[in-house]
Symmetry: C2
């Protein structure tokens, strides 16, 4: 059995855990190349049900502990699915989330989770960025990664060329920015919410082609955590 630690350059990735693997099976069964099962004297009912579903799809199941060690799975992880990475084009008729150079897998996964929770289906990632297929990103998304369209772009210009007819609302600490609630009230049906990198935020020149928006907050903190800021924005745009 050939297997090595996960790398961004690898054509395959892994869902660590039965629940995540089941989300993948429900949404993208054809992408699954094989499944690793940790040998155990007995499996719980939920896991047995998932194994049965995997068998129905004629996916190879390999009993092994090696894969769990190589991929750094925790002791309570009993099932891993290996899958071929895939790309899912963004829907031009729906609102998008645009992440400029996100660098933390936990944040990216959490944003995916919030996106699914608040009915956003499309995320554009401007590279360089953390890998949305990294097992840690997928884990933090709690499986939401498989319910979304996610596409990468080498620059914001490339993204703007592909989706030119929509306003871009950029979250930045800008004196002239519009308040979040006002921006949400006045937004058209189709728009993109743009968020900067964790450490550097958005460059000031984004104000030249975006409408700057800010989340009202105390002056005692520099900023909000990226996944928190994005989630508050997604929530507000869906509530109004």
């Amino acid at each position: 059995m050939k297997l090595s630690r996960y790398k961004q350059s690898s054509p395959v990735s892994y869902t660590l855990g039965a629940t995540l693997s089941y989300e993948l099976l429900k949404t993208h069964p054809k992408q699954i190349t094989r499944v690793f099962l940790r040998p155990a004297p007995k499996y719980g009912q939920d896991l047995q049900k998932i194994i049965h579903e995997i068998e129905k799809h004629h996916i190879e199941i390999i009993e092994t502990t090696k894969a769990f060690n190589v991929l750094g799975a925790k002791d309570d992880c009993l099932l891993i699915a290996e899958f071929t990475k895939f790309s899912t084009p963004l829907n031009p008729q729906k609102p998008h989330i645009v992440l400029i150079n996100p660098s933390d897998a936990g944040n990216l996964g959490t944003i995916m989770r919030s996106a699914a929770a608040f009915g956003f289906e499309d995320i554009a990632i401007i590279t360089p960025a953390v890998d949305n297929f990294a097992p840690k990103s997928i884990r933090a998304s709690m499986g939401a990664a498989f319910h979304l369209n996610i596409a990468s772009f080498p620059s914001i210009e490339t993204y703007r060329k592909a989706f030119s007819s929509r306003p871009l609302l950029a979250f930045m600490l800008n004196n002239t920015a519009q308040q979040l609630s006002e921006a949400a009230q006045t937004a058209p049906d189709c728009y993109s919410l743009v968020f900067g990198n964790e450490a550097s935020g958005l460059p000031a020149e984004f104000a030249d082609f975006c409408t700057p928006v800010f989340i009202p907050q105390s002056e005692s903190v520099d900023s909000l955590n990226l996944s928190v800021a994005a989630s508050i924005a997604l929530f507000t745009f869906r509530q109004i």
Copy 2:
């Protein structure tokens, strides 16, 4: 120089980095016991300014690389402050955040950061819980940890006895729960927002002594990330 890896049982903790250490110096200078400085041919202007401030407080500065290795600091971390942990009683006249058995240092720190951003000053932590003085919690808080009153309680009953005259609003996935925006509109000046553990949420019996509240979200996800849910709630209670 005596120094060992950080443990929850230790009477002292550490701020890893000059910015965090400066937040501590501004808010609790008397708690600082000593400061470690990574030897370097030259320090930047900002760091020199912080060193100067530390000297003004007559705090011992030790040039060493050992402390950085023992405490697992990253290469770009040039300054660490050691401080005696302290407790800060909650203000009975202000709204509180109550966290039941939070288990992740990143989440706890992120909630502190959002609390400071949205003008909440008091956090009650019901143990067992992750350590709010762990360097990782403090780092995720971006220094907000030092601007808040944080107190631990062995049970929710102990907390309720100490603060008996306020309504408790508990965030849970309960069919009869009130919507967040409605709860925020009708809340009195003094209340407590209660959030459960990352994996298990709040036990159903919390509905017996709390008003259940929910954040409207799609059925395609099980729940929101804890720090995201708490931050959306804090934001909403402050916007209305």
